[in-house]
Amino acid sequence: MSVLVFADSSEGKFKKTALEVVSYGKKVAEQLGTNVVALTINASDSSELYTYGAEKVVSVSNDALKTFNAKQYAAVVTEVAKAQNATVIVVDSSIDGLYVAPIIAVNLDAGCVSNVVDVPSSTSPFTVKRKTFSNKAFSNTIISTEHKVIGVAKNSYGVHENVVAGSTEAFDATVVDSAVKSEKIERITGKVTIADAEIVVSAGRGLKGPENWGMVEELAEVLGAATACSKPVSDLGWRPHSEHVGQTGKPVASNLYIAIGISGAIQHLAGINASKVKVVINTDPEAPFFKAADYGIVGDAFEVVPKLIEKLKAFKAS
């Protein structure tokens, strides 16, 4: 028996979520009294994972797996899980993690739980806590099957160093056929994406027009943050739909979420509830967002934000 963690990488490098799921997997392995095995696909150097507790890394290198394909990746994870006699399989709850997890679960006849926020509270019965009802509640869920697939919510467990003397072995995985073919990938380059961002700076209709987004972008740049917006702003075409944060838009689980001129409709709050610290800047002291926020400034964004940019620049330079 072992715990298998799929450590996802992009262009050969591990994402922060990969280090988080390895940290998580190590803890689960300790609880179960077993070892953790990390699986990498086309990662150039796996040794970084030893720092987070991976005693063994199974490294798959195959040009046919260069582009993410859910069915093919799920088949590789399944094959490695069987070869390593893994009963617990840990993935992240990223877009690709949520794509691949249910396929792995069916392959292994496993119970599958996503958006998990903590290590198991009990291993018998195997019980994990997950976010539910659009972040308005948690459910403590028992997985009753022998095999278990767990999707860890981003930024929920954290990255924990746990240095071990690990070793890496190459694995020649079978690549299954998939009738879903990638034709084109378009990424917004040079910008921090909402999914990866530690900090998100978001603005709403209070900014009065798209011409005023310069200061939002400048604030984001100073903080190394991603930019986002409320639903009305994307509906009005002021900002692209890809920046819409909320229940039907993008979920945000950043460490810091700064909302400028956003009143805080319940659909918007559902999308940002998982963020750790929320700051609101709004002229209306009755805006519902103040009830959900940790810190707030009642004031005019056009006066507050330029001041904040200036002071943050000085703070960063000091």
């Binding site: 859910a70 069915k71 877009i95 690709d96 949520l98 997890a101 249910p102 396929i103 069916v106 496993a110 119970g111 599958c112 739980v113 996503s114 958006n115 019965p125 019980t127 976010k131 539910t132 659009s134 308005k136 509640a137 948690f138 459910s139 403590n140 869920t141 028992i142 997985i143 009753s144 009738a179 879903v180 990638s182 034709e183 990938i185 910008k191 999914a195 990866d196 900090i199 739909h241 890809s242 229940q247 039907t248 838009g249 460490n255 810091l256 319940i266 659909q267 750790k276 610290v277 959900a292 940790d294 810190y295 707030g296 400034i297 009642v298 006066e303 904040l308 002071k311 943050l312 703070f315």
Partner: protein, 248 residues
Amino acid sequence: MKILVCISHVPDTTSKINFTDSDTKFDTNGVQFVINPYDEFCLTRAMWFKEKQGATVTIVNVGGAETEPTLRKALAIGADDAIRVNVNPTDGLQVAKELAAVVKNGGYDLVLAGKESADYNGQMVPGMLASLTDFNFINGCVGIEVDGTAVTATREIDGGNETLSTSLPLVIGGQKGVVEEKDLRIPNMRGIMMARKKPLQVIEPVGGEASTSVQSFEKPAPKGAVKLVDADNVDELISLLHNEAKVI
């Protein structure tokens, strides 16, 4: 083209979430239920296929009789007929097994389902359904075109989009972008009247077992009051974010 749209019956976003029976059951008291928002995008796209390219649109729900008003709403939007699998499921795998039986019996070409339901947010049913039926599968879909049996679709990826090609039969896990929010349909009076006469078939479950169960629910700890900072004193905000919250 035969299209099946999976419809979840979920609490309206503005609903207060409470639990009963020592926090083991969701309290439906006073809760308004609606078509799952992600499924609504899929249903509207299915209507587009029906009207522009010719298709039949069946909707399906796995749930008790209380979900029928939601199914009637979906029929009022324009679906041709409805199926309700008469069981209250306890997890996504159970739902997927029931849906798989419906798909296999119905000979559908395209199955559209929201990528997640707004209640349990498991995001597993479309993927499990595709695997159980051996249909092709695209998740997080933000655009789909069908030409004969050839499909071009776009899915969201971190920081961008990916264009994919595949073929029917296909399961789509859809979200906003499959259609835009402004294009969502609201049932009109004629649709509502017609929906009353459309067939709603109730079938018994095949008995797919759940693999997970909820032991208990809990709500997040109550949040403290917001700390207000004077608009003329942004230094204090920076200090709080650095020293207290430790996020910058």
